[in-house]
């Protein structure tokens, strides 16, 4: 059997007529795209969105140092803490699900399955209202956000870890046992080192989801990039919502694309790697919110 379809074989190498048709279609598509862009331009113009006044703040260094960078730091703080805790949670529960002991395996599986099924925003709201009831009043937005991100993404990562360890060929652990390794030596010295290489791309993809999910902090009034962009900046510089939305949108997309590119690079590298006998595990089908 031949390999998978690459887009170029879905259609013939264009002959003279197809080239003509392609060029005509390209032209039409370009006209359509230009028309859409022009329509957006007109709409912006109609509502006065091109006025220099509302764009000027973003050329001032003080806007960046006072609003955008603190917002970005808020987002990165939540994402960093969430990532660290989620990785710990994921490793612990992923390995616990592989335990030989039923009393560890079953509860760990239940925790992972339940937290994966809860809509993340419901979980974050619940934690944000639960924390003051348990620990007394205070600002728990960061804690609720990080805890929610940890429980949800940690559960997804637990599945990645489990899949990674299970994907190591059986011969590896059999060989390790046969030369007299103990259970935890097999895991620590044979299975995990190979599994980690195969898991890396999927883990980084999940971190992209986690970074996107920090934006939920906006809804519980955690002061992150989205909050600065959509609430604070438009309040300070009246009318500059659209410019602010575009600026922070570019920042989010840039950050996530960098991380995604890292995941792709890691996947290519791990496919070539001779240090592991495991193929990279596919990323969890998770679209984030």
């Amino acid at each position: 059997m031949s390999g998978p379809v690459d887009t170029s074989v879905l259609f013939d190498a264009p002959g003279p007529r197809a080239r003509l048709r392609n060029n005509a279609l390209s032209l039409l598509a370009l006209i359509a795209i230009v028309a859409v862009v022009y329509f957006v331009y007109l709409k912006f113009d109609e509502k006065g969105q091109w006025e220099g006044r509302i764009w000027e703040p973003f050329a001032e260094p003080s806007t960046w140092t006072e609003y955008i960078i603190p917002g970005l730091l808020g987002t990165l703080k939540a994402a960093g803490l969430g990532a660290v805790f989620a990785l710990v949670f994921g490793s612990v529960f992923g390995l616990a699900r592989l335990s030989d002991h039923r009393w560890i395996r079953v509860p760990a599986g239940a925790v992972v399955e339940i937290f994966r099924a809860i809509p993340l925003l419901l979980l974050i709201f619940f934690l944000a209202y639960l924390a003051p009831a348990v620990f007394g009043s205070g600002d728990y937005t960061l804690i609720a956000l990080v805890a929610g991100l940890t429980l949800y993404n940690g559960s997804v990562l637990a599945e990645v870890v489990r899949a990674g360890v299970l994907a190591v060929p059986k011969g590896q652990s059999e060989a390790a046992y046969s030369i007299g390794f103990r259970k935890n030596q097999v895991m620590r010295m044979v299975l995990l080192p190979q599994a980690v290489t195969a898991m890396m791309p999927a883990i980084v993809s999940q971190l992209v989801v986690l970074l996107k999910d920090t934006a939920l902090g906006y809804i519980i009034a955690y002061v992150d990039l989205l909050n600065y962009g959509f609430k604070i900046i438009p309040a300070v510089f009246f009318g500059s919502l659209i410019p602010a939305a575009i600026v922070i949108g570019v920042i989010y997309v840039g950050l996530n694309m960098t991380l995604s590119a890292l995941a792709t690079w890691l996947e290519k590298r791990s496919r070539r790697s001779r240090r592991t006998s495991v193929k990279p595990i596919p990323a969890a089908a998770d679209i984030g919110e």
Partner: protein, 222 residues
């Protein structure tokens, strides 16, 4: 427990809105995703680039930003309006944002499905003289869909859970908002939270089960 019983009608009404949003967005995002993936693999380079750009940008943007932008940017600032009734308008803004977001993931999933279709299928389709759209419609996409039913199911499940983010677009009717509103009245209530989680599971688990079953039944034998 008393809180759950007392507020059950409100919560149920809110949850029904989530179901409604899910149904509308599932249909729209599957259609839009199919159109996007067709453009993504089209022979015309401009269309391919346009679709790829859209998919890459939207996939890397937080849904909360997409929804907040459709309400504050598109509607409030630029004057896009679906209805004079504010809540109807907000409903369709959520549908717009959530479908636009989910469509990019549907398109990516379908593209990985297209990648599972063997080369010979596309070559055979061309050999019998099918045009690009004929081969896409009759040969490639049907097999691609059947290969990715399970991942598409996961995307739809995630979309159902994402309907809770609707309040970012100022649509204050679905269950996450009702829960928050109730907590403002009564303080945190564990039964209410568990009740809602179970309600979501009552939808997402069967969808996942159905997708898994369909994926097995419709898998293309190669």
């Amino acid at each position: 427990m008393n809180d759950l019983i007392k507020y059950a009608p409100d919560l149920a009404a809110g949850f029904l809105v989530n179901v409604e949003l899910s149904l509308v967005c599932a249909v729209l995002s599957l259609i839009a995703g199919t159109v996007l993936v067709s453009l993504r693999v089209a022979p015309t380079p401009v269309l391919r680039t346009a679709a790829a750009t859209y998919i890459n940008i939207v996939r890397n943007t937080p849904l909360t930003l997409v929804l907040a932008f459709s309400a504050l940017g598109l509607s409030d600032t630029l004057g896009l309006s679906f209805s004079k009734e504010p809540s109807t308008n907000a409903f369709w803004l959520v549908v717009l944002g959530l479908s636009a977001y989910t469509a990019s993931f549907v398109a990516e999933t379908l593209r990985s499905g297209i990648n599972t279709v063997p080369l010979g299928q596309a070559e055979a389709a061309r050999a019998i003289g099918l045009t690009f759209f004929q081969s896409l419609r009759m040969i490639i996409l049907p097999q691609a869909f059947r290969a990715v039913i399970a991942p598409l199911g996961s995307v739809i499940i995630a979309m159902i859970k994402n309907t809770t983010v609707a309040m970012a677009a100022g649509y204050l009717a679905e269950s996450a908002f009702v829960m928050k509103d109730t907590f403002d009245d009564t303080g945190v209530s564990i039964p209410i939270f568990i009740g809602l989680v179970l309600a979501f599971m009552a939808i997402t688990l069967p969808v996942g089960f159905l997708a898994g079953r369909l994926a097995r039944r419709l898998a293309v034998v190669r």
